[in-house]
Amino acid sequence: MTPPDAGLARRRRTNAVMFGLAAVCTAVALSVLFVLLAYITWKGVSSLTWAFLSRLPRPVGEPGGGIAHAIVGTVKLVGLAAVLGVPVGVLGATYLSEYGSNRFGFAIRYCADVLNGIPSIVTGIFAFTVVVLPLKHFSALAGSVALAVIMIPLVLRSSEEFLRLVPVSVREAALALGVPRWKVIARVVLPTASRGIMTGSLLAVSRVAGETAPLVFTAFGARHWDQGWLQPIAALPLVIYSYAISPYEDWHRQAWAAAFLLLIVVLAGNLAARALMQPRQEGTGS
Protein backbone atom coordinates (compact mmCIF):
# COMPACT_ATOMS: atom_id res chain seq x y z
CA MET A 1 0.00 0.00 0.00
CA THR A 2 1.42 3.36 -1.02
CA PRO A 3 1.36 6.22 1.46
CA PRO A 4 -1.91 8.11 1.02
CA ASP A 5 -0.24 11.35 0.01
CA ALA A 6 1.85 9.85 -2.82
CA GLY A 7 -1.19 7.90 -4.00
CA LEU A 8 -3.34 10.97 -4.02
CA ALA A 9 -0.75 12.95 -5.93
CA ARG A 10 -0.53 10.22 -8.55
CA ARG A 11 -4.27 10.03 -8.83
CA ARG A 12 -4.52 13.77 -9.17
CA ARG A 13 -1.86 13.69 -11.85
CA THR A 14 -3.79 11.02 -13.74
CA ASN A 15 -6.88 13.12 -13.36
CA ALA A 16 -5.18 16.16 -14.85
CA VAL A 17 -3.56 14.19 -17.66
CA MET A 18 -6.76 12.42 -18.68
CA PHE A 19 -8.89 15.54 -18.67
CA GLY A 20 -6.09 17.34 -20.45
CA LEU A 21 -6.24 14.70 -23.16
CA ALA A 22 -10.01 15.01 -23.29
CA ALA A 23 -9.64 18.75 -23.73
CA VAL A 24 -7.16 18.20 -26.55
CA CYS A 25 -9.57 15.78 -28.23
CA THR A 26 -12.33 18.35 -27.92
CA ALA A 27 -10.12 21.06 -29.33
CA VAL A 28 -9.15 18.89 -32.29
CA ALA A 29 -12.65 17.59 -32.98
CA LEU A 30 -14.38 20.92 -32.58
CA SER A 31 -11.82 22.83 -34.56
CA VAL A 32 -12.16 20.38 -37.45
CA LEU A 33 -15.93 20.57 -37.23
CA PHE A 34 -15.91 24.34 -37.06
CA VAL A 35 -13.47 24.61 -39.95
CA LEU A 36 -15.93 22.58 -42.02
CA LEU A 37 -18.92 24.67 -40.95
CA ALA A 38 -16.99 27.90 -41.46
CA TYR A 39 -15.80 26.80 -44.89
CA ILE A 40 -19.34 26.10 -46.08
CA THR A 41 -20.61 29.32 -44.57
CA TRP A 42 -17.83 31.30 -46.20
CA LYS A 43 -18.45 29.68 -49.59
CA GLY A 44 -22.21 29.78 -49.37
CA VAL A 45 -23.37 32.79 -47.45
CA SER A 46 -22.63 35.45 -50.05
CA SER A 47 -24.86 33.79 -52.66
CA LEU A 48 -27.73 33.22 -50.29
CA THR A 49 -30.17 35.92 -51.33
CA TRP A 50 -33.92 36.11 -51.11
CA ALA A 51 -34.15 35.65 -54.87
CA PHE A 52 -32.10 32.48 -54.61
CA LEU A 53 -34.50 31.13 -51.99
CA SER A 54 -37.75 32.13 -53.65
CA ARG A 55 -37.20 31.54 -57.36
CA LEU A 56 -37.03 28.63 -59.74
CA PRO A 57 -33.84 27.86 -61.67
CA ARG A 58 -33.05 29.96 -64.72
CA PRO A 59 -31.45 28.60 -67.87
CA VAL A 60 -27.67 28.22 -67.71
CA GLY A 61 -25.92 31.53 -68.21
CA GLU A 62 -28.84 33.68 -67.03
CA PRO A 63 -28.26 35.20 -63.60
CA GLY A 64 -30.82 35.20 -60.81
CA GLY A 65 -31.96 31.60 -60.70
CA GLY A 66 -33.07 30.05 -57.44
CA ILE A 67 -33.77 26.78 -55.75
CA ALA A 68 -37.18 27.31 -54.16
CA HIS A 69 -38.47 24.09 -55.73
CA ALA A 70 -35.67 22.07 -54.13
CA ILE A 71 -36.29 23.54 -50.68
CA VAL A 72 -39.94 22.53 -50.86
CA GLY A 73 -38.90 19.18 -52.30
CA THR A 74 -36.46 18.39 -49.50
CA VAL A 75 -38.97 19.43 -46.82
CA LYS A 76 -41.61 17.16 -48.36
CA LEU A 77 -39.28 14.21 -48.97
CA VAL A 78 -37.74 14.33 -45.51
CA GLY A 79 -41.09 15.06 -43.87
CA LEU A 80 -42.78 12.02 -45.35
CA ALA A 81 -39.69 9.92 -44.63
CA ALA A 82 -39.88 10.98 -40.98
CA VAL A 83 -43.59 10.23 -40.83
CA LEU A 84 -42.90 6.77 -42.25
CA GLY A 85 -39.67 6.06 -40.44
CA VAL A 86 -39.68 7.62 -36.98
CA PRO A 87 -42.77 5.79 -35.62
CA VAL A 88 -41.39 2.47 -36.83
CA GLY A 89 -38.04 3.23 -35.26
CA VAL A 90 -39.38 4.51 -31.94
CA LEU A 91 -42.00 1.79 -31.47
CA GLY A 92 -39.54 -0.89 -32.53
CA ALA A 93 -37.10 0.56 -30.00
CA THR A 94 -39.84 0.47 -27.38
CA TYR A 95 -40.18 -3.25 -27.96
CA LEU A 96 -36.41 -3.69 -27.70
CA SER A 97 -36.03 -1.80 -24.45
CA GLU A 98 -39.17 -3.05 -22.73
CA TYR A 99 -39.57 -6.62 -23.92
CA GLY A 100 -36.57 -7.22 -26.12
CA SER A 101 -34.23 -9.46 -24.16
CA ASN A 102 -35.27 -12.47 -26.23
CA ARG A 103 -34.64 -13.93 -29.66
CA PHE A 104 -36.88 -11.40 -31.38
CA GLY A 105 -34.96 -8.59 -29.76
CA PHE A 106 -31.65 -10.07 -30.87
CA ALA A 107 -32.89 -10.46 -34.44
CA ILE A 108 -34.27 -6.93 -34.60
CA ARG A 109 -31.08 -5.38 -33.21
CA TYR A 110 -28.92 -7.42 -35.51
CA CYS A 111 -30.96 -6.57 -38.60
CA ALA A 112 -30.92 -2.88 -37.68
CA ASP A 113 -27.13 -2.86 -37.45
CA VAL A 114 -26.83 -4.70 -40.74
CA LEU A 115 -29.29 -2.34 -42.47
CA ASN A 116 -27.34 0.59 -41.12
CA GLY A 117 -24.22 -0.57 -42.95
CA ILE A 118 -25.92 -0.81 -46.32
CA PRO A 119 -24.62 1.88 -48.69
CA SER A 120 -27.33 4.41 -49.37
CA ILE A 121 -27.12 3.74 -53.10
CA VAL A 122 -28.19 0.14 -52.45
CA THR A 123 -31.19 1.45 -50.54
CA GLY A 124 -31.94 3.63 -53.54
CA ILE A 125 -31.76 0.66 -55.89
CA PHE A 126 -34.03 -1.25 -53.50
CA ALA A 127 -36.63 1.53 -53.48
CA PHE A 128 -36.33 1.77 -57.25
CA THR A 129 -37.11 -1.96 -57.51
CA VAL A 130 -40.07 -1.99 -55.13
CA VAL A 131 -41.67 1.41 -55.83
CA VAL A 132 -40.51 2.90 -59.14
CA LEU A 133 -40.62 -0.19 -61.33
CA PRO A 134 -44.16 -1.29 -60.32
CA LEU A 135 -45.51 2.27 -60.70
CA LYS A 136 -43.49 2.83 -63.89
CA HIS A 137 -42.63 6.29 -62.66
CA PHE A 138 -39.97 8.07 -60.64
CA SER A 139 -41.72 9.66 -57.70
CA ALA A 140 -41.41 11.63 -54.49
CA LEU A 141 -42.98 8.67 -52.72
CA ALA A 142 -40.15 6.39 -53.82
CA GLY A 143 -37.62 8.93 -52.58
CA SER A 144 -39.28 9.14 -49.18
CA VAL A 145 -39.42 5.37 -48.90
CA ALA A 146 -35.69 5.16 -49.59
CA LEU A 147 -34.95 7.85 -46.99
CA ALA A 148 -37.27 6.21 -44.44
CA VAL A 149 -35.45 2.90 -44.87
CA ILE A 150 -32.20 4.68 -44.03
CA MET A 151 -33.77 6.45 -41.05
CA ILE A 152 -35.40 3.47 -39.39
CA PRO A 153 -32.30 1.67 -38.07
CA LEU A 154 -30.73 4.96 -37.00
CA VAL A 155 -33.82 5.99 -35.04
CA LEU A 156 -34.30 2.51 -33.64
CA ARG A 157 -30.81 2.07 -32.27
CA SER A 158 -30.45 5.51 -30.77
CA SER A 159 -33.99 5.50 -29.29
CA GLU A 160 -33.36 2.13 -27.70
CA GLU A 161 -30.27 3.40 -25.92
CA PHE A 162 -32.19 6.30 -24.46
CA LEU A 163 -35.21 4.23 -23.46
CA ARG A 164 -32.95 1.82 -21.59
CA LEU A 165 -31.52 4.69 -19.59
CA VAL A 166 -34.89 5.50 -18.04
CA PRO A 167 -34.30 4.33 -14.45
CA VAL A 168 -36.03 1.14 -13.39
CA SER A 169 -37.25 2.99 -10.30
CA VAL A 170 -39.40 5.24 -12.47
CA ARG A 171 -41.13 2.27 -14.07
CA GLU A 172 -41.53 0.50 -10.78
CA ALA A 173 -43.03 3.53 -9.12
CA ALA A 174 -45.71 3.77 -11.77
CA LEU A 175 -46.34 0.03 -11.90
CA ALA A 176 -46.68 -0.02 -8.12
CA LEU A 177 -49.56 2.39 -8.47
CA GLY A 178 -51.34 -0.20 -10.55
CA VAL A 179 -50.89 1.55 -13.87
CA PRO A 180 -50.87 -0.98 -16.73
CA ARG A 181 -47.47 -1.54 -18.20
CA TRP A 182 -48.32 -0.18 -21.62
CA LYS A 183 -49.53 3.04 -20.10
CA VAL A 184 -46.40 3.30 -18.02
CA ILE A 185 -44.39 2.98 -21.20
CA ALA A 186 -46.50 5.39 -23.22
CA ARG A 187 -47.03 7.99 -20.52
CA VAL A 188 -43.87 7.75 -18.45
CA VAL A 189 -41.02 5.93 -20.14
CA LEU A 190 -41.34 7.42 -23.63
CA PRO A 191 -41.77 11.01 -22.39
CA THR A 192 -38.82 10.62 -20.02
CA ALA A 193 -36.64 9.47 -22.91
CA SER A 194 -38.17 11.89 -25.40
CA ARG A 195 -35.22 14.28 -25.35
CA GLY A 196 -32.82 11.53 -26.29
CA ILE A 197 -35.24 10.10 -28.84
CA MET A 198 -35.53 13.53 -30.36
CA THR A 199 -31.75 13.88 -30.55
CA GLY A 200 -31.47 10.52 -32.29
CA SER A 201 -34.33 11.28 -34.67
CA LEU A 202 -32.86 14.66 -35.54
CA LEU A 203 -29.52 13.07 -36.31
CA ALA A 204 -31.35 10.65 -38.57
CA VAL A 205 -33.30 13.45 -40.24
CA SER A 206 -30.10 15.45 -40.68
CA ARG A 207 -28.42 12.44 -42.16
CA VAL A 208 -31.10 11.74 -44.76
CA ALA A 209 -31.63 15.41 -45.57
CA GLY A 210 -28.14 15.43 -47.05
CA GLU A 211 -28.37 12.12 -48.92
CA THR A 212 -27.92 12.19 -52.67
CA ALA A 213 -27.38 8.61 -53.80
CA PRO A 214 -30.75 7.12 -52.75
CA LEU A 215 -32.65 9.92 -54.49
CA VAL A 216 -31.08 9.64 -57.92
CA PHE A 217 -33.07 6.53 -58.88
CA THR A 218 -36.19 7.45 -56.92
CA ALA A 219 -37.10 11.12 -56.40
CA PHE A 220 -35.16 11.82 -59.61
CA GLY A 221 -35.06 15.62 -59.36
CA ALA A 222 -36.78 18.38 -61.29
CA ARG A 223 -36.35 21.99 -62.28
CA HIS A 224 -39.98 22.89 -61.58
CA TRP A 225 -42.43 22.77 -58.70
CA ASP A 226 -43.34 19.20 -57.98
CA GLN A 227 -46.68 17.80 -59.08
CA GLY A 228 -47.66 15.49 -56.27
CA TRP A 229 -46.29 12.47 -54.49
CA LEU A 230 -46.37 10.22 -57.55
CA GLN A 231 -44.27 12.52 -59.74
CA PRO A 232 -40.55 13.35 -59.72
CA ILE A 233 -39.52 15.96 -57.18
CA ALA A 234 -36.49 18.16 -56.67
CA ALA A 235 -34.26 17.93 -53.60
CA LEU A 236 -31.42 20.07 -52.30
CA PRO A 237 -28.77 17.33 -52.36
CA LEU A 238 -29.66 16.51 -55.98
CA VAL A 239 -29.30 20.17 -56.93
CA ILE A 240 -26.03 20.39 -55.02
CA TYR A 241 -24.72 17.28 -56.71
CA SER A 242 -25.62 18.18 -60.27
CA TYR A 243 -24.38 21.75 -59.81
CA ALA A 244 -21.17 20.72 -58.02
CA ILE A 245 -20.11 18.39 -60.84
CA SER A 246 -20.93 20.90 -63.58
CA PRO A 247 -18.21 22.95 -65.25
CA TYR A 248 -19.72 26.37 -64.54
CA GLU A 249 -18.53 28.74 -61.86
CA ASP A 250 -22.05 30.11 -61.39
CA TRP A 251 -23.46 26.64 -60.70
CA HIS A 252 -20.61 25.87 -58.27
CA ARG A 253 -21.51 29.05 -56.41
CA GLN A 254 -25.14 27.94 -56.23
CA ALA A 255 -24.09 24.48 -55.03
CA TRP A 256 -22.22 25.97 -52.08
CA ALA A 257 -25.11 28.27 -51.30
CA ALA A 258 -27.51 25.31 -51.38
CA ALA A 259 -25.21 23.34 -49.08
CA PHE A 260 -25.15 26.23 -46.67
CA LEU A 261 -28.92 26.45 -46.91
CA LEU A 262 -29.25 22.77 -46.09
CA LEU A 263 -27.36 23.48 -42.87
CA ILE A 264 -29.76 26.30 -42.08
CA VAL A 265 -32.80 24.13 -42.82
CA VAL A 266 -31.48 21.49 -40.45
CA LEU A 267 -30.68 24.17 -37.88
CA ALA A 268 -34.21 25.52 -38.14
CA GLY A 269 -35.68 22.03 -37.86
CA ASN A 270 -33.54 21.44 -34.79
CA LEU A 271 -34.66 24.65 -33.11
CA ALA A 272 -38.29 24.05 -33.99
CA ALA A 273 -38.20 20.54 -32.57
CA ARG A 274 -36.61 21.77 -29.37
CA ALA A 275 -39.21 24.50 -29.05
CA LEU A 276 -41.96 21.91 -29.41
CA MET A 277 -40.61 19.94 -26.51
CA GLN A 278 -41.81 20.66 -22.99
CA PRO A 279 -39.34 22.22 -20.55
CA ARG A 280 -36.74 19.66 -19.66
CA GLN A 281 -36.65 17.77 -16.45
CA GLU A 282 -34.36 17.22 -13.54
CA GLY A 283 -32.47 13.98 -13.71
CA THR A 284 -32.40 13.66 -17.47
CA GLY A 285 -29.30 15.75 -17.36
CA SER A 286 -30.51 19.19 -18.19
Binding site: C25, L30, L33, Y95, G117, V179, V188, L236, V266
Partner: protein, 313 residues
Protein backbone atom coordinates in the same frame (compact mmCIF):
# COMPACT_ATOMS: atom_id res chain seq x y z
CA UNK B 1 -39.24 12.34 -12.50
CA UNK B 2 -42.38 13.67 -10.94
CA UNK B 3 -45.48 11.66 -11.63
CA UNK B 4 -48.20 13.41 -13.57
CA UNK B 5 -51.65 13.31 -11.99
CA UNK B 6 -53.07 11.94 -15.22
CA UNK B 7 -51.02 8.80 -14.74
CA UNK B 8 -52.69 8.21 -11.41
CA UNK B 9 -56.09 8.83 -12.95
CA UNK B 10 -55.43 6.24 -15.62
CA UNK B 11 -54.51 3.52 -13.17
CA UNK B 12 -56.33 0.24 -13.44
CA UNK B 13 -55.72 -3.33 -14.53
CA UNK B 14 -56.00 -3.72 -18.32
CA UNK B 15 -53.77 -6.63 -19.10
CA UNK B 16 -55.36 -7.36 -22.49
CA UNK B 17 -54.34 -3.94 -23.66
CA UNK B 18 -50.88 -4.67 -22.32
CA UNK B 19 -50.48 -7.72 -24.50
CA UNK B 20 -51.78 -5.88 -27.54
CA UNK B 21 -49.28 -3.11 -26.93
CA UNK B 22 -46.42 -5.58 -26.74
CA UNK B 23 -47.50 -7.22 -29.98
CA UNK B 24 -47.90 -3.87 -31.66
CA UNK B 25 -44.38 -2.76 -30.80
CA UNK B 26 -43.07 -6.17 -31.81
CA UNK B 27 -44.74 -5.77 -35.19
CA UNK B 28 -42.92 -2.49 -35.72
CA UNK B 29 -39.66 -4.10 -34.66
CA UNK B 30 -40.22 -6.92 -37.11
CA UNK B 31 -40.61 -4.37 -39.94
CA UNK B 32 -36.85 -3.99 -39.63
CA UNK B 33 -36.25 -7.71 -39.88
CA UNK B 34 -38.55 -7.72 -42.90
CA UNK B 35 -36.61 -4.90 -44.51
CA UNK B 36 -33.27 -6.61 -43.97
CA UNK B 37 -34.59 -9.86 -45.43
CA UNK B 38 -36.16 -8.03 -48.37
CA UNK B 39 -32.92 -6.18 -49.09
CA UNK B 40 -30.81 -9.30 -48.85
CA UNK B 41 -33.32 -11.16 -51.02
CA UNK B 42 -33.45 -8.43 -53.67
CA UNK B 43 -29.66 -8.35 -53.83
CA UNK B 44 -29.39 -12.13 -54.01
CA UNK B 45 -31.87 -12.26 -56.91
CA UNK B 46 -30.20 -9.40 -58.74
CA UNK B 47 -26.69 -10.80 -58.37
CA UNK B 48 -27.39 -14.41 -59.34
CA UNK B 49 -25.68 -14.14 -62.74
CA UNK B 50 -22.41 -13.12 -61.07
CA UNK B 51 -22.47 -16.04 -58.65
CA UNK B 52 -23.34 -18.40 -61.48
CA UNK B 53 -20.45 -17.09 -63.57
CA UNK B 54 -17.72 -16.77 -60.93
CA UNK B 55 -18.90 -18.71 -57.88
CA UNK B 56 -17.45 -18.05 -54.46
CA UNK B 57 -13.97 -17.15 -55.82
CA UNK B 58 -15.65 -13.85 -56.77
CA UNK B 59 -14.87 -12.81 -53.20
CA UNK B 60 -11.10 -13.31 -53.31
CA UNK B 61 -10.43 -12.57 -56.97
CA UNK B 62 -8.59 -9.31 -57.58
CA UNK B 63 -9.42 -8.68 -61.24
CA UNK B 64 -12.02 -6.09 -62.16
CA UNK B 65 -12.27 -5.88 -65.93
CA UNK B 66 -15.61 -4.56 -67.23
CA UNK B 67 -14.54 -4.96 -70.87
CA UNK B 68 -13.59 -8.64 -70.62
CA UNK B 69 -16.39 -9.11 -68.07
CA UNK B 70 -14.16 -10.70 -65.45
CA UNK B 71 -15.10 -9.52 -61.99
CA UNK B 72 -13.71 -10.07 -58.49
CA UNK B 73 -14.45 -8.20 -55.28
CA UNK B 74 -11.28 -8.52 -53.22
CA UNK B 75 -9.67 -5.08 -53.74
CA UNK B 76 -12.96 -3.42 -52.80
CA UNK B 77 -13.44 -5.58 -49.72
CA UNK B 78 -9.91 -4.78 -48.63
CA UNK B 79 -10.38 -1.06 -49.16
CA UNK B 80 -13.66 -0.95 -47.25
CA UNK B 81 -12.22 -2.84 -44.28
CA UNK B 82 -8.99 -0.84 -44.11
CA UNK B 83 -10.61 2.58 -44.52
CA UNK B 84 -13.32 1.79 -41.96
CA UNK B 85 -10.81 0.43 -39.43
CA UNK B 86 -8.65 3.49 -39.91
CA UNK B 87 -11.66 5.77 -39.47
CA UNK B 88 -12.74 4.04 -36.26
CA UNK B 89 -9.24 4.08 -34.79
CA UNK B 90 -9.17 7.84 -35.23
CA UNK B 91 -12.78 8.69 -34.46
CA UNK B 92 -13.42 6.52 -31.40
CA UNK B 93 -10.67 7.93 -29.14
CA UNK B 94 -11.23 11.41 -30.47
CA UNK B 95 -14.99 11.14 -30.04
CA UNK B 96 -14.86 9.60 -26.58
CA UNK B 97 -12.39 12.22 -25.38
CA UNK B 98 -14.57 14.96 -26.77
CA UNK B 99 -17.71 13.50 -25.22
CA UNK B 100 -16.01 13.18 -21.82
CA UNK B 101 -14.91 16.77 -21.96
CA UNK B 102 -18.30 18.05 -23.10
CA UNK B 103 -20.24 16.00 -20.59
CA UNK B 104 -17.96 16.25 -17.56
CA UNK B 105 -15.92 19.42 -17.78
CA UNK B 106 -17.34 21.95 -20.20
CA UNK B 107 -19.92 24.44 -18.96
CA UNK B 108 -23.41 23.42 -19.97
CA UNK B 109 -23.84 26.19 -22.52
CA UNK B 110 -20.62 25.44 -24.34
CA UNK B 111 -21.48 21.77 -24.27
CA UNK B 112 -24.93 22.34 -25.75
CA UNK B 113 -23.62 24.69 -28.42
CA UNK B 114 -20.91 22.23 -29.38
CA UNK B 115 -23.25 19.30 -29.66
CA UNK B 116 -25.60 21.44 -31.69
CA UNK B 117 -22.83 22.21 -34.16
CA UNK B 118 -21.93 18.55 -34.28
CA UNK B 119 -25.48 17.54 -35.12
CA UNK B 120 -25.49 20.09 -37.92
CA UNK B 121 -22.40 18.53 -39.32
CA UNK B 122 -24.20 15.25 -39.82
CA UNK B 123 -26.40 17.03 -42.37
CA UNK B 124 -23.63 18.11 -44.71
CA UNK B 125 -24.18 16.24 -47.97
CA UNK B 126 -21.33 13.85 -48.45
CA UNK B 127 -20.57 15.31 -51.86
CA UNK B 128 -19.74 18.54 -50.00
CA UNK B 129 -17.64 16.59 -47.49
CA UNK B 130 -15.87 15.10 -50.48
CA UNK B 131 -15.25 18.51 -52.02
CA UNK B 132 -13.78 19.74 -48.76
CA UNK B 133 -11.72 16.57 -48.62
CA UNK B 134 -10.31 17.44 -52.03
CA UNK B 135 -9.68 21.11 -51.26
CA UNK B 136 -8.47 20.88 -47.65
CA UNK B 137 -7.51 17.37 -46.64
CA UNK B 138 -5.83 16.13 -49.81
CA UNK B 139 -3.28 19.00 -49.96
CA UNK B 140 -2.55 18.53 -46.25
CA UNK B 141 -2.00 14.81 -46.66
CA UNK B 142 0.13 15.33 -49.76
CA UNK B 143 2.25 17.76 -47.77
CA UNK B 144 2.58 15.30 -44.86
CA UNK B 145 3.14 12.16 -46.88
CA UNK B 146 6.83 12.61 -47.77
CA UNK B 147 7.51 13.23 -44.08
CA UNK B 148 5.54 10.12 -43.11
CA UNK B 149 7.39 8.06 -45.67
CA UNK B 150 10.74 9.36 -44.38
CA UNK B 151 10.10 8.80 -40.70
CA UNK B 152 7.80 5.78 -40.71
CA UNK B 153 8.76 4.34 -44.08
CA UNK B 154 10.39 1.32 -42.41
CA UNK B 155 6.82 0.13 -41.82
CA UNK B 156 5.03 -1.29 -44.85
CA UNK B 157 2.08 1.00 -44.08
CA UNK B 158 3.79 4.22 -45.08
CA UNK B 159 5.39 3.66 -48.45
CA UNK B 160 4.63 5.00 -51.87
CA UNK B 161 4.36 8.13 -53.92
CA UNK B 162 2.70 11.17 -52.30
CA UNK B 163 -0.50 11.46 -54.35
CA UNK B 164 -2.52 13.00 -51.53
CA UNK B 165 -5.48 10.80 -52.39
CA UNK B 166 -5.51 7.29 -51.02
CA UNK B 167 -6.45 5.10 -48.10
CA UNK B 168 -5.10 7.48 -45.43
CA UNK B 169 -7.08 10.43 -46.74
CA UNK B 170 -10.22 8.34 -47.06
CA UNK B 171 -9.84 7.03 -43.51
CA UNK B 172 -9.36 10.51 -42.08
CA UNK B 173 -12.29 11.96 -43.99
CA UNK B 174 -14.46 9.05 -42.86
CA UNK B 175 -13.36 9.65 -39.28
CA UNK B 176 -14.73 13.18 -39.45
CA UNK B 177 -17.94 11.97 -41.06
CA UNK B 178 -18.64 9.46 -38.26
CA UNK B 179 -17.37 11.67 -35.45
CA UNK B 180 -20.74 13.41 -34.94
CA UNK B 181 -22.44 10.07 -34.25
CA UNK B 182 -19.94 9.06 -31.61
CA UNK B 183 -19.73 12.44 -29.90
CA UNK B 184 -23.38 13.39 -29.76
CA UNK B 185 -24.77 10.03 -28.67
CA UNK B 186 -21.98 9.40 -26.15
CA UNK B 187 -22.32 12.85 -24.66
CA UNK B 188 -26.06 12.51 -24.36
CA UNK B 189 -25.65 9.15 -22.63
CA UNK B 190 -23.00 10.40 -20.23
CA UNK B 191 -25.27 13.24 -19.24
CA UNK B 192 -27.92 10.76 -18.17
CA UNK B 193 -25.68 9.04 -15.60
CA UNK B 194 -27.62 9.60 -12.36
CA UNK B 195 -26.18 12.35 -10.22
CA UNK B 196 -26.50 10.14 -7.15
CA UNK B 197 -24.00 7.65 -8.60
CA UNK B 198 -21.45 10.38 -9.30
CA UNK B 199 -21.92 11.93 -5.92
CA UNK B 200 -21.56 8.61 -4.18
CA UNK B 201 -18.22 8.03 -5.90
CA UNK B 202 -17.01 11.55 -5.26
CA UNK B 203 -18.07 11.15 -1.65
CA UNK B 204 -15.81 8.13 -1.37
CA UNK B 205 -12.91 10.38 -2.38
CA UNK B 206 -12.64 9.47 -6.06
CA UNK B 207 -11.12 12.04 -8.39
CA UNK B 208 -13.26 13.28 -11.26
CA UNK B 209 -11.42 11.06 -13.70
CA UNK B 210 -11.99 8.06 -11.48
CA UNK B 211 -15.69 8.86 -11.49
CA UNK B 212 -15.57 8.84 -15.28
CA UNK B 213 -13.59 5.61 -15.42
CA UNK B 214 -15.38 3.70 -12.67
CA UNK B 215 -18.91 5.06 -12.84
CA UNK B 216 -19.62 6.82 -16.11
CA UNK B 217 -17.89 4.44 -18.52
CA UNK B 218 -19.42 1.24 -17.15
CA UNK B 219 -22.83 2.87 -16.99
CA UNK B 220 -22.57 4.17 -20.53
CA UNK B 221 -20.78 1.20 -22.06
CA UNK B 222 -23.68 -0.39 -23.88
CA UNK B 223 -24.83 2.95 -25.21
CA UNK B 224 -21.36 3.89 -26.37
CA UNK B 225 -21.05 0.55 -28.10
CA UNK B 226 -24.31 1.28 -29.86
CA UNK B 227 -22.93 4.61 -31.01
CA UNK B 228 -19.74 2.98 -32.28
CA UNK B 229 -21.84 0.45 -34.19
CA UNK B 230 -23.83 3.23 -35.81
CA UNK B 231 -20.58 4.91 -36.75
CA UNK B 232 -19.07 1.71 -38.11
CA UNK B 233 -22.15 1.09 -40.21
CA UNK B 234 -21.89 4.56 -41.61
CA UNK B 235 -18.18 4.08 -42.37
CA UNK B 236 -18.74 0.77 -44.14
CA UNK B 237 -21.46 2.16 -46.35
CA UNK B 238 -20.21 5.69 -47.00
CA UNK B 239 -19.98 6.33 -50.70
CA UNK B 240 -19.64 9.74 -52.19
CA UNK B 241 -17.03 11.29 -49.89
CA UNK B 242 -14.85 8.17 -50.00
CA UNK B 243 -14.86 7.87 -53.74
CA UNK B 244 -13.76 11.49 -54.10
CA UNK B 245 -10.54 10.98 -52.10
CA UNK B 246 -9.62 7.29 -52.08
CA UNK B 247 -8.05 7.24 -55.54
CA UNK B 248 -10.40 4.59 -56.98
CA UNK B 249 -7.73 2.09 -57.90
CA UNK B 250 -8.74 -1.55 -57.42
CA UNK B 251 -5.36 -2.71 -56.07
CA UNK B 252 -4.53 -4.32 -52.76
CA UNK B 253 -1.65 -2.69 -50.90
CA UNK B 254 -0.58 -2.63 -47.28
CA UNK B 255 0.48 0.97 -47.61
CA UNK B 256 -1.99 3.59 -46.44
CA UNK B 257 -0.42 6.10 -48.79
CA UNK B 258 -1.41 4.12 -51.89
CA UNK B 259 -4.72 4.70 -53.63
CA UNK B 260 -7.42 2.11 -53.01
CA UNK B 261 -11.09 1.55 -53.64
CA UNK B 262 -14.14 0.65 -51.60
CA UNK B 263 -17.21 -1.49 -52.19
CA UNK B 264 -19.76 1.28 -51.85
CA UNK B 265 -17.64 3.51 -54.09
CA UNK B 266 -17.40 1.07 -56.99
CA UNK B 267 -21.12 0.40 -56.76
CA UNK B 268 -21.95 4.09 -56.95
CA UNK B 269 -19.35 4.77 -59.63
CA UNK B 270 -20.24 2.05 -62.06
CA UNK B 271 -23.86 1.09 -61.42
CA UNK B 272 -25.45 3.87 -63.46
CA UNK B 273 -23.29 3.13 -66.50
CA UNK B 274 -23.11 -0.64 -66.35
CA UNK B 275 -24.40 -1.93 -69.63
CA UNK B 276 -24.43 -5.73 -69.58
CA UNK B 277 -26.48 -7.87 -67.22
CA UNK B 278 -23.43 -9.70 -65.87
CA UNK B 279 -21.78 -6.36 -65.08
CA UNK B 280 -24.85 -5.12 -63.19
CA UNK B 281 -25.17 -8.41 -61.34
CA UNK B 282 -21.50 -8.31 -60.36
CA UNK B 283 -21.96 -4.85 -58.89
CA UNK B 284 -25.00 -5.97 -56.93
CA UNK B 285 -22.97 -9.00 -55.83
CA UNK B 286 -20.51 -6.56 -54.27
CA UNK B 287 -23.44 -5.02 -52.42
CA UNK B 288 -24.40 -8.49 -51.22
CA UNK B 289 -20.84 -9.20 -50.06
CA UNK B 290 -20.88 -5.93 -48.14
CA UNK B 291 -24.17 -7.06 -46.63
CA UNK B 292 -22.46 -10.30 -45.59
CA UNK B 293 -19.44 -8.44 -44.18
CA UNK B 294 -21.73 -6.25 -42.10
CA UNK B 295 -23.33 -9.40 -40.71
CA UNK B 296 -19.94 -10.88 -39.83
CA UNK B 297 -18.49 -7.65 -38.41
CA UNK B 298 -21.56 -7.28 -36.22
CA UNK B 299 -21.25 -10.85 -34.99
CA UNK B 300 -17.60 -10.32 -34.07
CA UNK B 301 -18.36 -7.06 -32.30
CA UNK B 302 -21.20 -8.71 -30.35
CA UNK B 303 -18.92 -11.53 -29.29
CA UNK B 304 -16.30 -9.05 -28.08
CA UNK B 305 -18.85 -7.12 -26.04
CA UNK B 306 -20.22 -10.32 -24.61
CA UNK B 307 -16.76 -11.38 -23.50
CA UNK B 308 -16.00 -7.98 -22.03
CA UNK B 309 -19.27 -8.05 -20.13
CA UNK B 310 -18.61 -11.52 -18.78
CA UNK B 311 -15.13 -10.56 -17.66
CA UNK B 312 -16.35 -7.38 -16.02
CA UNK B 313 -18.98 -9.12 -13.96
Amino acid sequence: MRMSPSVLALAGPRWGADDAFRRMTLAFGLVIVGLAVAMGGTMAVNSRLAWRAFGLPFIWTSTWDPVAEVFGAWPFIWGTLVSSALALSVAVPLGLGTAVFLAEVAPRRLSDAASFAIELLAAIPTVIMGLMGIFILVPLVRWAEPWLARTLGFLPFFRGAPYGVGMLTAGLLLAFIILPYIVSITREIMLTVPRSLREAALGLGATKWEVVRLVVFPYARSGVTGAVFLALGRALGETMAVTMVIGNTPKVSLSLLEPGYSMAAVLANEFAEASSDLYVHSLVAIGLVLFGITIVVNAIARLMIHRATVRAS
